[in-house]
């Protein structure tokens, strides 16, 4: 990286020693800024935020509540307008929401009147309009199977437990085959046992699909277990990237191997030190 310059305009190439290579950057946040106007003047949530996320990378974002993590994520999703700077996916600036950036929300956000299968199909139908009905339902069923819901295709979302609903949320996000997966504290509302189960399910599917993922979490252990890099954000206002920690555990990982790894507590201490200062 030291000799390479990444085109900050977001081109899909990288120039190294005068030669152009395809860029490895999937998601590029450049000088990102978010301002909320208030009666007392502008409130700057994010300022000069720069972050590049590589293809097939899993990044977790950690920081204090209210620092603007969710704001940043919803800006990437296109659900929240950008006040300054830009966001590019494979060099194309983000202009609004779209299925190339799948989102797993904090609340499962399933349509309660639809069955688990219908909820996943809602996205699949939209993204693969030319596939046959059978192909589309096969895709949906495959991912529901992957999240361990093969017996609950026809259950109404409202009849599923919170954890099961979030499993459907995971299946729905992967089934539309996005370029980037955005996860906004998806397990924050679950008990620790269910959370562990869902982390395992998420990482198992991710190992197979390797979709670039950005996940917000409050949980230091979750951040380390899932990520290639943990991004630490400073507290707001004018939050930016405070520090980045590379997690060098090989994949696929198991919870046990991670916990027993010598570096685990070093990483953990690093993160906790950051959060406490």
């Amino acid at each position: 990286m030291s000799t390479a310059t990444i085109n900050t305009k977001g081109a899909d190439t990288i120039t190294e020693n005068g030669i152009q290579y395809p860029s490895k950057v999937m998601l590029d946040l450049h000088n990102l800024k978010k301002v909320y106007p208030t009666p007392k003047g502008d409130y700057v949530v994010l300022e000069d935020l720069n972050l590049q996320i590589m293809k097939e990378e899993f990044v977790t974002i950690i920081g204090h509540s209210g620092c603007g993590k969710t704001t940043m994520l919803s800006m990437i999703a296109g659900l929240n307008p950008i006040s300054g700077g830009n966001i590019a996916v494979l060099g194309n600036p983000v202009k609004g929401p779209g299925p190339d950036r799948g989102v797993i929300f904090q609340a499962p956000s399933l349509m309660p009147w639809m069955t688990a299968l219908e909820n996943v199909m809602l996205g699949v139908n939209q993204v693969f309009p030319h596939a046959s009905k059978k192909e589309r339902s096969d895709i949906a069923k495959y991912y529901l199977h992957k999240v361990g819901l093969e017996g609950s295709f026809d259950k109404k979302a409202i009849a599923l437990s919170q954890g099961m609903q979030q499993r459907v949320g995971i299946a729905r996000a992967f089934a539309i085959k996005p370029k980037v997966l955005l996860l906004d504290e998806p397990f924050g509302m679950l008990d620790s046992l269910t959370r562990g189960e869902l982390q395992d399910i998420l990482i198992e599917i991710w190992n197979k699909e390797k979709i670039t993922a950005v996940m917000i979490t409050h949980d230091v252990d979750e951040a380390i277990f899932l990520a290639d890099r943990v991004v630490m954000m400073t507290s707001g206002p004018r939050a930016k990237i405070g520090d980045i920690l590379n997690i060098d555990f090989e994949r696929p990982r198991t919870r046990k191997s991670v916990l027993e790894h010598n570096d685990y507590y070093t990483y953990r201490k690093h993160l906790i030190d950051f959060l406490e200062h």
């Binding site: 609004g96 299925p99 956000s109 349509m111 309660p112 939209q126 409202i158």
Partner: protein, 368 residues
């Protein structure tokens, strides 16, 4: 046991949860709590009915006596002692011509109810006979290109009820067809909502009578050159216009307050506007729409009586009015019969709507 569970489910869904103690008592082994429940939920309400009838009986007796005394005193003052004694004897004998006209007692109302049913049987038989008598003649008339002769006799009480139900149903459908689409449209757009708000706020509280007059002005002119049944048209349109507001407001509210998460999901998936409305917004606002429709139906039934009464269109309203004008000895008790019938039908209509509402709503909130 399984049978009783499904039975309970059905009664619960229909809002007849209060019947549960009875079904519990007669299906399977009665438990001690079932018996306590039976006492609480069946025996005590029965006592309340008896109390109601007692108060009614007492009240009507008191009013009867007051009216009778007044009559006797009036006879005394106008015509002297002999006339007063005659009046007293006349009232005691139960002679129709001199009975005091006041609140009827429960038993009088019950007798009137049976009379009305008898009357219905007579009229139905009469109609059938008329039909048979005119069948051959009507065939000839139709063949000759003339209108067939129709029965023009007086409608029975049951016919009036059916007419009223038809009117309220037509009015309800009209309200649904106007209020739901408009509610969806203004619910979707903040601008439209704020620009049409004045209209809703101003016309919502307008009395049924005024709506009737407005509809009368318009329909009278529109139906000038046709011989359609304008009384029916006027009353059902008025019923629709009076009752549609609850549905309009609820639909707009339901559509505008769809959970933001669902909207975000729709945005991320880039659903088209039609898909967004039919797959996300409408299903999510159905419970509120049905709450509105339920209110609409009960309002429709309530204003129907007043509107029929004023529009001279046949039905329970005009039945009540005619009986009041009639002033026959059993008119008052017939009015009370109509009152009970109106109440019971209103209750049943509400239960039907509640059942539908419970079936379509995804969050199983217990309706009351």
């Amino acid at each position: 046991m399984k049978q009783s569970i499904t039975l309970n489910k059905v009664t619960q869904l229909m809002g007849f949860g209060f019947l549960k103690p009875i079904t519990a008592l007669f299906t399977g082994k009665p438990q001690k709590e079932d018996i306590v429940n039976f006492l609480k939920k069946i025996v005590v309400p029965l006592l309340s009915i008896l109390l109601f009838l007692g108060v009614w009986q007492g009240g009507s007796t008191a009013l009867f006596n007051k009216e009778a005394n007044f009559k006797i005193e009036k006879a005394l003052a106008d015509q002297g002692q002999a006339a007063a004694d005659e009046m007293k004897a006349c009232i005691a004998s139960g002679e129709v011509s001199c009975q005091p006209n006041t609140l009827p007692s429960p038993s009088q109302v019950w007798v009137s109810f049976k009379t009305l049913l008898e009357d219905h049987k007579v009229i139905t038989a009469d109609k059938l006979a008329f039909k048979q008598k005119t069948a051959v003649m009507n065939e000839k008339r139709v063949a000759a290109g003339k209108d067939p002769i129709t029965y023009t006799g007086r409608p029975s009480f049951v016919d009036q009820i059916i007419t009223s139900l038809k009117t309220v149903f037509a009015g309800f459908v009209l309200a649904l067809l106007i209020a739901v689409p408009i509610g969806i449209v203004i619910g979707l757009s903040e601008t439209l909502r704020s620009s049409f708000n004045w209209l809703i706020q101003i016309f919502k509280p307008v009395s049924p009578v005024v709506w009737l007059l407005l509809v009368f002005m318009i329909v009278k002119t529109l139906t000038k050159d046709s011989n359609s049944d304008s009384a029916f048209i006027i009353s059902f349109i008025s019923v629709g216009l009076c009752s549609m507001w609850a549905t309009l407001v609820n639909t707009a509210m339901g559509v505008s307050s769809v959970d933001k998460d669902y909207i975000n999901v729709a945005k991320v998936l880039k659903l088209g506007p039609m898909q967004k409305v039919f797959k996300v917004i409408l299903p999510s606002s159905l419970p509120l729409i049905f709450t509105g429709l339920r209110i609409t139906l009960s309002v429709a039934w309530m204003v129907l009586i007043a509107i029929e009464l004023l529009a001279q269109s046949p039905g329970l309203g005009s039945f009540v009015w005619e009986e009041f004008q009639n002033g026959a000895i059993d008119s008052n008790s017939k009015i009370i019969v109509a009152m009970f019938i109106i109440g019971i039908i209103g209750f049943l209509l509400d239960r039907i709507m509640l059942t539908i509402q419970n079936m379509v709503s995804f969050n199983k909130n217990e309706g009351v």
